[in-house]
Symmetry: C2
Subunit: 418 residues, 2 copies
Amino acid sequence: MAENHKVHFGVNYTPRQGWFHSWLDFDPKATREDLEQIASLGCDHVRIFPLWPLIQPNRTLIRESAIKQVVRLVEIAGECGLDVYVDVLQGHLSSFDFLPSWVESWHRQNLFTSPKVISGQRTLVGALGAALSELPNARGLGIGNEFIQFAAPRHPQQHEITSQEAGHWLDELFAEAKQVWPEGKHAHSFDDDLWFDAHHPFTPELGVTRGDITTVHSWIFGALGLTYGADHQYLPMFARYLVDLAAAYQRLFLGTNTGPIWLQEVGAPSTHLSRGREAEFVRHTLEFLLGRQEGEGGGAIAGTEHLAAVTWWCSHDVSRQLADFPALEYDLGLFDEDGQVKPEGQAFAQVISDYRDGKLGIYSLKNEGDPGQSILRVGLTRDGSDRNLLSPAGAFFQAWAEQAINGQVPKIELSHKN
Amino acid sequence: MAENHKVHFGVNYTPRQGWFHSWLDFDPKATREDLEQIASLGCDHVRIFPLWPLIQPNRTLIRESAIKQVVRLVEIAGECGLDVYVDVLQGHLSSFDFLPSWVESWHRQNLFTSPKVISGQRTLVGALGAALSELPNARGLGIGNEFIQFAAPRHPQQHEITSQEAGHWLDELFAEAKQVWPEGKHAHSFDDDLWFDAHHPFTPELGVTRGDITTVHSWIFGALGLTYGADHQYLPMFARYLVDLAAAYQRLFLGTNTGPIWLQEVGAPSTHLSRGREAEFVRHTLEFLLGRQEGEGGGAIAGTEHLAAVTWWCSHDVSRQLADFPALEYDLGLFDEDGQVKPEGQAFAQVISDYRDGKLGIYSLKNEGDPGQSILRVGLTRDGSDRNLLSPAGAFFQAWAEQAINGQVPKIELSHKN
């Protein structure tokens, strides 16, 4: 079998001690321990998350010491053999919102349209980008982890904007990132509201036309889990669906100028997986993406050509000493809160190893009499106002899943409705 | 003349470098420089303000390192000859709200009634109180700087509560403070909404019946400034009015069991004082409180017996490098942003010196034919629903001010309406 190298594997780095509050007491030694554990799985990269209110507590105060801590973390990661993507505006992590006081309460301004806020955000993107551009293993910036949730109709304190304003905001921040760090690979990120919520101002068009790479976050506790229930056989196919859907939207809006997709978040939540089935979920999710031969754990699956990287959520369990997280958030780590690798961590490492050995990474099934890949077509309005048709709660997904479950994953073809 | 010692003088400590964001990069050397400057004015105490989201970023994570920084600051203050009062829940400072992520947005809970939030607040009060109780120059806790503004009808994201709930919240936090630090002098604080806003759940009764000492914050940019305008001769009398009003409410609700009043905040805002008149405002404000002999800058004034301490707002100007503060907040320091004493700082030092020398601190005017102190009486409902009658925009204040301006400050006598 040929060796595979195309797909990168990494994790979203959640510090074992103190979660992201550890930025308040940055500890290079504890950081190194965590990153060495991550590297031991065979990962080649991590995604990291500074907290916005700590790095920029006043609009015109970007703490040099905080920038230096981010740089130091990236250096340590480099010493562990890991590349790093740095997400700038946190923003939002595991149900908690972190906003600096200068955009909140008496100072509340629209996070996406206020010229003052955008100016402050640009300055931060510029400062971090400039500092990171000099590090060989720093690879790019993220605008902010699922930052678009602040504009979601379901957010308790929604910042209302139009899609045009959403696009302008992205253009502003990407312009800054490119200016200070032209070689960086810069992305934005979003939960699947972007793909499925017809009322969300951030549209699939913005998802695939802004930034250097299209990202996907795959969480089975959303509409999919609500529709099909825990442990359903469709759950491990959701990441594949999203990746192929994102690729389909790329073809729709970019024509032939498409690029690879980064599965930037995917995790095994206890709400929809029975205890003990997490490792199997890890394996199956990645098999549906990478493809497998018959006999390797079931029937053959043709992988997707679109996948550039998988970044698992997350590295370390949230300590049970920290309160108020949603229950599922405590158990998402590949390592437990004591730093011991969990079965899902072992499964992830095995997949990485199998992929590199060529045991996974199968992109076409050459069976005799094979009818070839089928195509599922759907016409959509340009503005995303009927994108909910593609939700995992709907008939389109069901049709896709009924075929995909047998290993021949249908191609998704989108067109513009008149 | 006899020496006076009864009244204490201090400042609210606003760190020169980085304002309160300096907690993120606590610098003992810079702190010592600031505190030495403050001590050089003759001050005997400071009030300090940890930021709640930094010290308790998760409900069950109180950062030991943050507690140690507070303790270290208090120790340095002690080495400079200063006592320290520590305000716990910030909360609110100079127009900015600082709330931890575990009470905001998706985790929003009522700050005054949620059992989880109260439990977290109690834990923090307990942790800080226990650590501080061992320091000889630590004097007491404040519940939180003007924390009641979160319950104000005018707050943009009001936490609605009843007066009963407000009282329960205070009782919970004071119980914790007393338990861990019985000798501490613990107080709560509030803007003058408590005295004048008929709809505010925190009532004058709660103002004077909770805590070891009653506090007063005197800001002339409120209803007083709006009514009388900049540079009006009544402006320097406002602090005196508030102190005597608080004492009157003590008599109303506590009978004879009254105590001294702490003028915990008073400042010279540029919105209502012409440039160059700040020092005069400092002097006149304190003369109306302390009393002066005829000839010492004008006619004689009888001071108030109720005053225990004056804590000026604030020590150091906010750096112009920090954005988005209301304009007046940049100029309230007794020292400028380079650490140079300002005319208002010199005026404050002179008052302290004059008071201690007995040139100020005159409590009765013994002129022949003096009719003695007059009394202004008003009947009020028990629940505070007509407390707006005493607002500086109203007739009661006007009657008080017309007499007070001549130096014979009338006594305020409140009674309960049937």
